[in-house]
């Protein structure tokens, strides 16, 4: 009764706590915040203080002096640094909830389907100590499928592949539940790492995470171009041989080569999931195919590669980056109806 009352006054929110980006969906207002999951912490006289969160902190990533640390509190889709994650969630909640701050909000946070109970508990607790009145968890593939607009509650199989920053979730859904899900810890971060490793190995050039991400977004491709080198891009970094900053030109083909391993892992995960799918659901999936969501879906030609690896139609959802947030938000909006998909650790 009382919680209902406060519910009217507070802005309930759905949080897609992603490895790369955190999106906040506020009930009735849509997605109001989309910022990188980065926190910059300054140490003043032995006390740690949050200096910046989000975009601002991301600019600091890899460029900090000794007393500042730019941290990404999430790794592989789960919380790696509990305290910093809590600070970040607190900051985001405060940012979107400033107007009606006297009532604490109800928060739905999504978690990777492959996360352990300990990891889920960590996410729920950090959201609670960040000032949430009540916290519910939703599994990422379910949120992604709802956000992509798949008919998840119908008696027909839907397959969704959500390629996030830290994890790739492959799931088959039907009748409002997850029939099979598989989570591999390969995502945008692994692709960045692969690019860094490739450039260092082949060009003796060390590039930062930010640069690697930029390269992936601009000329990244899941398969090499038919012939030629494809698009090219100038990259800057530090030469490992003589230690001076250097610039060189890298091509799409090289990046596609470097990305072969993470892409292969994603394909493998999809194939394994298909192998475990019941025949009736498999028949549905043959008809309608796989839907890609998450930032990884924007990697060019990934749908093409997946299509030819699986022989199924592969389509990319509308606005793949915000599918999970939209789905979580919809679970929030239609909470009485969709409460089956929400869980709580206690």
């Amino acid at each position: 009764m009382f919680s209902k009352l406060t519910g009217w006054m507070s802005a309930d929110m759905a949080i897609d706590l992603g490895t790369a980006n955190t999106l906040v969906y506020v009930k009735g207002r849509g997605i109001v915040l989309n910022e990188p999951s980065v926190v910059a912490i300054a140490e003043e006289k032995g006390k740690k203080k949050v200096l910046a969160v989000g975009d601002e902190a991301k600019m600091m990533l890899g460029r900090t002096p000794g007393y500042i640390q730019a941290i990404r509190p999430l790794r592989d889709g789960v919380i790696a640094d509990f305290e910093v994650a809590e600070e970040m969630i607190k900051h985001f909640i405060r940012k979107v909830h400033n107007r009606r701050s006297f009532a604490s909000p109800l928060v739905i946070v999504c978690v990777p389907s492959g996360s352990t109970a300990v990891e889920r508990r960590a996410i729920q607790e950090s959201a609670e100590s960040a000032g949430a009145r009540r916290v519910f968890l939703i599994e990422e593939p379910m949120a992604a499928a709802i956000g992509a607009g798949l008919p998840v509650t119908e008696p027909t199989g839907s397959m969704v592949v959500d390629i996030g920053g830290g994890t790739t979730e492959v799931a088959v859904l039907s009748l409002g539940g997850i029939v099979y899900s598989r989570s591999v810890r390969v995502g945008g971060d692994k692709m960045d790492e692969a690019i860094i490793a490739y450039i260092r190995r082949n060009h003796n050039l060390l590039v930062g995470e930010g640069s690697a991400e930029r390269i992936k977004k601009e000329i990244g491709s899941a398969c090499p171009p038919e012939d030629g080198e494809g698009r090219t891009m100038e990259i800057k970094g530090r030469d490992l041989m003589n230690g001076v900053p250097k610039e060189l030109i890298i091509s799409e083909r090289q990046i596609a080569e470097s990305l072969a391993e993470p892409v292969g892992a994603i394909i493998e995960a999809v194939k394994v999931a298909l192998e475990h799918t019941a025949p009736e659901l498999a028949a549905d999936i043959v008809d309608k195919g796989i839907v890609l969501t998450g930032g990884g879906a924007l990697l060019s030609n990934l749908d093409y590669v997946l299509r030819h690896a699986t022989g199924l139609p592969v389509s990319i959802a509308d606005d793949p980056l915000s599918c999970v947030a939209l789905g979580t938000g919809r679970a929030l909006e239609e909470m009485p109806k969709l409460k089956n998909v929400l869980t709580s650790m206690y």
């Binding site: 008919p151 998840v152 008696p155 491709s221 030629g228 839907v291």
Partner: protein, 406 residues
């Protein structure tokens, strides 16, 4: 290729699009694909294809037509496209022919269209946008999510119970209100009756030829109904005359009580004090009317009735009553028991209230305030039973004895 040099930003320029297609073809050839139908009949299009450049048609043609002309411009057949894109041919046909109903749900249809448009070198986002506009009716953007829920066990839902309860409460209250308001109406309707009583009185007075003034006093009230003066039961018209008449009728009777009294043996008790009381509680005068005129045998009785009329009268059912108990001073509690000890009546008589004791032997009276209780036998007042505030028990209500001063 040349396109990469000229346009490094776009992967899927129209010129480049055939290349992945070719690669796909190669891939398709190398691995066995469970393609449902290698249809070979719709080969008629390629013949007339390649005539219209896609850009010309794309301006305002439908999405389907744009797709078809683009495909024909590329010189591909539907089965080829279906094989390359792994999208089933019926779906591609439905897309080209704009049959939205044959396509799977919204997301899938949009996804297929996006893939197909990209494959054909069209602007996929633009195509999807137009497709949505076209299919505003049949094409739903937002999937309806209804979770399968267990069949309800036929219990009445809580909401309905509360609703029904509210309705019942409202009906009950409404009924009570109606009934109670009807009651008040009865009391409102009462005042006219003293008028009738006055009429009766008047007639009796005129019959005896005495107490002329009483008749005169009643006159102002009667003027309105002079035509039917002899008709005793009052009609609606005279009922309209309000309570004002009642005091008018009854007051004069009292006012000239000194004159009327001696012959009638009216107790001299009925003084001005009462007259005021009468005025004050004029609307309450109903009891006298409740005791119908017909049970009123002798004149003194009638007079007693009027004199008593200023309070509630209990025991009116005992027509042969000889003893009347009346609270004159303060309120007075009385209890009357039968000879066998059973309770006949027990109540608090308010000032002015009276109780007509049945003409029965062996009745016992208990009185809480003997000083304020006036006892009259056959209309004659007898000495008070005690001092004010005195409690007396076991008084025999024997009229003769009381009259003798016992």
């Amino acid at each position: 290729m040349d396109s990469t040099a000229s346009d490094p930003q776009q992967t899927e320029t129209p010129a480049e699009a055939p290349e992945p297609a070719a690669a796909a073809e190669a891939a398709a050839a190398s691995e066995p694909v469970p393609e449902p139908e290698p249809v070979s009949e719709p080969m008629s299009e390629p013949v007339i294809g390649a005539v219209a450049p896609p850009a010309a048609l794309a301006v305002n043609a439908g999405v389907g037509a744009t797709l078809r002309s683009a495909r024909e411009g590329m010189g591909k057949t539907l089965p080829e496209c279906a094989k390359l894109l792994r999208i089933r041919q019926p779906f591609l046909e439905a897309l080209e022919e704009g049959r939205h109903r044959d396509l799977p749900g919204g997301t899938y249809a949009a996804g297929f269209l996006r893939t197909y448009a990209e494959f054909l070198g069209l602007d996929s986002e633009e195509m999807v946008r137009r497709f949505r506009e076209e299919g505003a009716g049949g094409f739903k953007n937002r999937t309806e999510l209804t979770f399968p829920s267990p069949v309800s066990e036929g219990r009445i839902p809580g909401g309905a119970v509360i609703f029904l309860g509210l309705i019942l409460a409202a009906v009950a209250y409404g009924g009570w209100y109606l009934l109670s308001s009807a009651e008040t109406k009865v009391t409102e309707m009462v005042p006219p009756l003293p008028d009738r009583l006055a009429g009766v009185l008047n007639r009796q007075a005129s019959l005896t030829g005495e107490t002329r003034p009483a008749g005169e006093a009643a006159k102002p009230g009667e003027e309105a109904m002079k035509a039917k003066e002899d008709v005793v039961p009052p009609t609606e018209t005279e009922e309209e005359k309000p309570a004002a008449q009642a005091p008018a009728a009854s007051e004069p009777v009292k006012a000239e009580a000194p004159q009327v009294e001696p012959p009638k043996a009216e107790p001299p008790k009925v003084e001005p004090v009462k007259a005021e009381a009468v005025k004050a509680e004029a609307p309450k005068v109903e009891p006298p009317k409740a005791e119908p005129p017909k049970v009123e045998p002798p004149k003194p009785e009638a007079a007693a009735a009027t004199s008593v009329s200023d309070g509630k009268v209990y025991g009116t059912e005992y027509a042969d009553s000889r003893v009347v108990l009346k609270a004159t001073g303060d309120d007075c509690w009385i209890q009357v028991r039968e000879v066998d000890g059973s309770l006949l009546m027990s109540r608090l008589l308010r000032r002015g209230d009276s109780f007509r004791v049945p003409n029965r032997s062996g009745l016992n009276l208990m009185v809480g305030n003997a000083g304020s209780l006036e006892v009259s036998v056959d209309g004659r007042k007898v000495p008070a039973l005690g001092a004010a505030g005195q409690v007396r028990r076991d008084i025999r209500l024997d009229p003769d004895k009381l009259a003798a001063g016992g």
